[in-house]
C-alpha cells in the first residue's frame, strides 16, 4: 500500500497533484503554455431516482 493510497487518494488524485506541482515548477516561458492545459470547467451533478440532487435544478420534463 502506497502512502498516498493510505491517505485516501486514488491514482487520479495523486497524478493530478503531481502534474500540478510539475507545472508550477516550470520555467516562466513554458509555464504559461502548460497552465492553459490545467484549466477545467467541468461540473458534476449526482442524480438519485431520476432527480438531480443539486441546485439549480435542471427543468424536469
Amino acid at each position: 500500500m502506497t502512502a498516498w493510497r493510505a491517505a485516501g487518494l486514488n491514482y487520479i488524485n495523486y497524478s493530478t497533484i503531481a502534474a500540478r506541482l510539475l507545472r508550477q515548477a516550470l520555467k516562466p516561458d513554458f509555464k504559461v503554455e502548460a497552465m492553459k492545459r490545467e484549466a477545467s470547467q467541468i461540473k458534476f451533478t449526482p442524480w438519485i431516482d431520476g432527480k438531480s440532487q443539486k441546485l439549480p435544478k435542471p427543468k424536469s420534463s
Partner: protein, 294 residues
C-alpha cells in the same frame, strides 16, 4: 383581383401563412420582412460554420496527439482478454456528448445506442451523462438510470484534467459496476464519424483475466492504479474524439443550413419581385382605366 393573386397562392403559401396574404401591399411587406430574416439567419449560420471550422482544425490536431493514449489503454484490455462476469451484470454506460447543439446527429446517435441497451435491460444499467444533451434526451424515459451528469462540456476543448475529474467523480459516486462501456463518436473524416463503444472492467474481472500473466510484475495495487489511470485516459480519448466529431458535424450542419437559406432567399426574392411587379401592373391598370373612363 383576388382571383389573380389566387394564382400565386401556392408560391406564396410556401413561405407565408395564409392569413398574411390579403392584399398586394401587405404581402409585399411580409415577403420583404421574411427575406430579411432569412438573410440574417444565413449570416449567423455562415459565421457559426467559420467558428466551428476553426475549432475543428484545433480539435483534429489535438486528437492526433490524444489517439495513442486511448489506443494504448484499449490494447491492454484486448491483450489481457478480460471478460466481464456473467452472473453479476451491473453495468455502467458513459455517454460522451457535450452541452452544445446544432451539430447534426452526433448526440442523438449516441443516445440511440444507449437507449437500445436500456430497453433490453433497464434494471442493471446505470448511465453517466457527459454533456447536457445526452441528459436532456435520456431523462425523458430513463431518468432513473442516470447516476451522474457532467456539464460545462464542449465550450472549450476537453483537457486531461476534465477527464480525471470525471474519473474521480465516477469512482466516488458509489456505484460498483462489474463492467461498463464508454459510448462515443469516433471521428473518421470531416464528413463522417461512427458511434462506437469502449469496454471498461472492474478490478475483479481484470484480476480474473486468463491472459493477465503476459504482463510482468503486477500486484493488486498496480492493477488498481492502472485501471484508474486507464479509465481517465479512455475518457480523455473519448472526449477528444467526441469533440472533433461534433465540430466537424457542426461544420457540415451549418454549411447545409447556409445552403438551404441561400435557396430560400432565391425563392423569396423571386416571389418578392413577382409580387412587386403585380402591384405595379395593377396600379397602372387602375390609372389607365381611370383615365380612359374620363
Amino acid at each position: 383581383m383576388i382571383g389573380r393573386f389566387g394564382a400565386m397562392a401556392p408560391l406564396v403559401a410556401q413561405n407565408l401563412q395564409q392569413s398574411q396574404q390579403q392584399r398586394g401591399m401587405a404581402t409585399l411587406k411580409h415577403i420583404s420582412m421574411r427575406l430579411k430574416s432569412v438573410k440574417n439567419i444565413q449570416k449567423i449560420t455562415q459565421s457559426m460554420k467559420m467558428v466551428s471550422a476553426a475549432k475543428y482544425t484545433r480539435a483534429e490536431r489535438d486528437l492526433k496527439q490524444a489517439r495513442p493514449i486511448g489506443e494504448g489503454s484499449k490494447l491492454f484490455y484486448e491483450k489481457a482478454e478480460i471478460e466481464s462476469p456473467v452472473e453479476k451484470p451491473k453495468k455502467l454506460i458513459i455517454a460522451v456528448t457535450s452541452d452544445r447543439g446544432l451539430c447534426g446527429a452526433v448526440h442523438t446517435s449516441i443516445v440511440r445506442q444507449i437507449r437500445g441497451e436500456l430497453s433490453n435491460d433497464a434494471d442493471n444499467i446505470k448511465v453517466v451523462c457527459v454533456g447536457d444533451k445526452s441528459r436532456a434526451i435520456l431523462q425523458r424515459l430513463y431518468s432513473k438510470n442516470i447516476i451522474l451528469v457532467a456539464n460545462e462540456v464542449g465550450r472549450l476543448p476537453p483537457t486531461f484534467n476534465d477527464a480525471s475529474k470525471l474519473t474521480a467523480a465516477i469512482l466516488n459516486c458509489g456505484y460498483e459496476f462489474t463492467s461498463g462501456k464508454i459510448v462515443y463518436n469516433r471521428f473518421k473524416s470531416v464528413v463522417s464519424y461512427s458511434t462506437q463503444e469502449m469496454p471498461l472492467f472492474s478490478l475483479e474481472s481484470v484480476q480474473a483475466a486468463p491472459k493477465l500473466s503476459v504482463y510482468d510484475s503486477l500486484d493488486a495495487d498496480v492493477i488498481q492504479s492502472y485501471l484508474e489511470f486507464s479509465l481517465a485516459s479512455l475518457l480523455f480519448y473519448a472526449m477528444k474524439e467526441g469533440a472533433c466529431s461534433e465540430q466537424s458535424s457542426r461544420m457540415t450542419a451549418m454549411d447545409n443550413a447556409s445552403k438551404n437559406a441561400e435557396e430560400m432567399i432565391g425563392k423569396l426574392t423571386l416571389t418578392f419581385n413577382r409580387t412587386r411587379q403585380a402591384v405595379i401592373t395593377r396600379e397602372l391598370i387602375e390609372i389607365i382605366s381611370g383615365a380612359s373612363a374620363l
